[in-house]
Amino acid sequence: MSTPAAEHAPGLAPADGIAARARGLTKAYGSGETTVLALDSVDVDIVRGRFTAVMGPSGSGKSTLMHCLAGLDTVSAGQVWLGNTEITGLRERELTRLRRDRIGFMFQSFNLIPTLNALENITLPMNIAGRDPDRAWLDQVIDTLGLRDRLKHRPAQLSGGQQQRVACARALVSRPELIFADEPTGNLDSRAGLEVLGFLREAVDDLGQTVVMVTHDPGAAAHSDLVLFLADGRIVDEMARPTAEAVLERMRLFTGAGSRFSGDGAED
């Protein structure tokens, strides 16, 4: 069970080494009797320099959690920090700037602007901000992701895997505090998927990035350092150094027994 938000003093600065943190994070849809709790008072710490995977059956609230942590969605109750900044309560314009400067995104599909070529897509967030990318770092990211000979191509001329690599490069190039990846391999064949996961892993291990990945694929989750299991809007379990088998096994417990587990999820 997650801890009630009331136990935490408001405005508490997260300990060093925490990239993002949520306390009592609640997201409700609708009102009155038809209220649906997508997130039910979730407490979570995303440790800096780690690869964290968020898993759960569909409707468990894993995408909502990511959206709230990334400042894409408003919360109904609770607090969210990115680094030392409390983002709950920020205004739209500040949130936009925060996403632009401090967060990188990868989505399942439609990650790239079709009218811009690969290089323009990669540097888009920095260009929007009116900053010049760090050339050396840009070159390193491009070479690491093997995109050197694809820079002038439009998204339509790239394979699915290449498109996700461009999205990955875009997320990396501004050196954000946190990269959110929403099902980044969901639309890829297994080989291309593995490649993308490998890059995310490298970003964490070699470049010191912090990555949060939402997925429903145990194989993908196995590449992470820590898997958070979500069910019915709560974090019900976590697993460090996961393997595909162990994750699959854990996930099986949700199917057909969801209601039982939602009651007695492991303690933090």
Binding site: H67, L72, R100, D101, F110, L112, T115, L124, I128, A156
Partner: protein, 855 residues
Amino acid sequence: MLKATLRSFLAHKGRLLLSALAVVLSVAFVAGSLIFSDTLGRTFDRLFASTAADVTVRPQEGLDEAVPSGTTATLPAALAGRLSGVEGVAAAHVDAEVENLTVVDDENEPVSPTTGAPTIGTNWHPTERSPVELTSGHAPDGPGQALLDSETADRTGVRIGDSLTVVAPPGSFRVEVVGIVTFTTTNPGAALLFLDTPTAQTKLLGDAKAATGISVEAAAGVSDDLLKRRVADALGPDAYEYRTAAEQAESDVEQLGGFLDVIKYVMLGFAGIAVLVGVFLIVNTFSMLIAQRTRELGLLRALGADRRQVRRSVLTEALLLGVVGSTLGLAAGIGLAAGLIGLMNAIGMNISSAEMVIGWATPVAAYVVGIGVTFVAAYLPARRAAAVSPMAALTDAEVAGVGRPLRLRAVVGGVVGAAGAAALAGCAAATETASAASLLGLGVVLTLVATVIAGPLLVRPVIRVLGAAFPALFGPVGRMSQRNALRNPRRTGATAAALMVGLALVGGMSVASASMTESFDRQIDRTLGADFIVQNGGFMPFPREITDRVRETPGAGLVVRSRFAPLAVRLPDGDRVETTAAAYDPRLDEVASISYARGDTAGALAAGHLAMDADFAREHGVRLGSTLPVEFQGGRTAELTVGALTDMESAEGFGARGGLFLGLETLQRYAPGGQESALYVNAAPGTGDDELRANLERTLDPYPQVQVRDIADYKKLVHDQISVLLYLVYALLGLAIVIAVLGVVNTLALSVVERTREIGLLRAIGLSRRQLRRMIRLESVVIAVFGAVLGLALGLVWGVCIQQVLALQGMTAFAVPWGTVVAVVIGSAVVGVVAALLPALRASRMNVLAAIAHE
């Protein structure tokens, strides 16, 4: 299938709204102009039919007056007495009517209408057919008494007992208003002044024994036709013109018809523009709707709907749109007609909106235009919809239509464009005005069609250039907006086409008018040497009294009079040419410089002589010294000798074919009674221009119908005349722009919907709302400027060709109004910004998460 169509129509009603608006606008103008002209026609029919006498006798109408000469044709008043004795005549009375009076009050302020409507002075002869009745005061009796119509009296504050000065052709005279008459029927806008019959004859016609016509009333049981025959027999069938009441009404309506037709054609011009531009909008909307529904249509096909059913479904939607749009347009047209009638009332006509006539043709035309336009515009998109394969339902295809090759367009556009260019080249090379004008028309239409067809092909190169600075100026936002505009050239091309059509017209017309203005300026500079010109702003003739006053003005030296007169000349090659000739006083050389091929001014203006254009003379076999039989207004003929041949650039303008002119004394001898159209005045030695001007202005104070102008003022007057044409073009442009803005809004709104996910992504990775709005705004600007550039380029080409046609008329100067061109380009950018307001707002309000999740 019908149910699916209806559902789809209702589901997309928001997106069809703008298309419907285009249909509504076109139909409204068509219906409005028909209703308006029907109403006016009926009103005047009734007025004239009820006021015409059973039979009217008039002087024979000789020559058409292209330029008013100021003569009033008369017949002997004694004819009335002769006709009284004719069998079947109950009564015959004299009409004495003059249409170009000027009436001023004691402060020399004009009482005449300021709208250009005439002031009619006539004799008071109340019958049951009078359009007015005496409502206060008494009938005029004696030379100093007059009646005024109540509308003019109310407008100017004239009351019974006030005195007025009437400036009539024979001279000015003062009258006291002794009564007010009120219109019992529609007042067409004129001011009416009634005098008793002898006063009207002497003071208006200058001859106590003259009349402008005889009104004959039939005795009981005698038909108008029978009466007309008897009257004609009594006076001689060819001596005068005889008209029954019906014929008279018809001819009056015909006279007014010119004015009504102008209004009607202007309105139909608006309707035409609205239809033309509206078609683009509708084609674009349907194309986009179908592109968006590719999967849905594919599903329908997969479920077993055949191509014809799909096509019929789309066309049914168009039909519904047409019906709805036509119905609303018809209603809007009635409103428009009511507004125009209100406007007519405001400028002095008196038409009741309750008398609005909606003939059967109006709704028929409204629905034919509305449904026809929508149907035609939707036909191609419907065929494309039918071509959607069932596989489209299964694949996650990008929006259809983007990548289709434009080869067919290139070929068709190229062929039509080449034909158009050839026609324009032919026009430029032509030497005959008539053939040049028809080639011009053909070329204009063909090049317009070609540009519309090939527009999408030009999108890439032109927008690359136009938007080249965008990335540097506006960063990635600029780059994305430029690329977005390039994304679907077909769509961008069609959207810009609406603006292009309007601006091409404006470009062509403004080049033409600038060239005309420049030509006139040059010609005035070259030919006119007078210090001052006294004339009427509308080039109407004015009474001789004014000439006398000007001559008496202190400081006035030479005064050269100028008159216009219609005449017919029989030429050696057998042609009989009816034209307008000018007549001048002998010392013309001192106020004007005319270049002659043969002869000189003295020869041209000598008694019994005339001059003409050398080219015209050569064409018709006329030589210096030839004698030509000339027929004047009023029927007199003379043998005039050609005393000079001129070599002028613009000899033949304004209906003055042949550039004929002669001495004023010669004209006066054969066609007496004309009035001056202009006086050229030079300062007497020792008098400064400013002094003379002030003196002339003082002299002319009681004559508000004429003004003093120096050369600069005169140029301005000419410019103003040309500007009237331009204002009309600007009004058309305004309408085209309104519809073009609708088109851009439409395209952007649909693009925003299509790009929902992309916008969500951009917002997620940090594009601010303001940047997003700017991106859409810039795209809109680049589309609008693209349309403007294409339109202006086309317009300039047309302008060059129009100028070639004008050059054949002697207007050889070519000028491009660069100020207008720049203003139009800037204006189109503003249009882009305005059109982007709503779509940009909508995009920036989009919820980021919903946009990302958008399917």
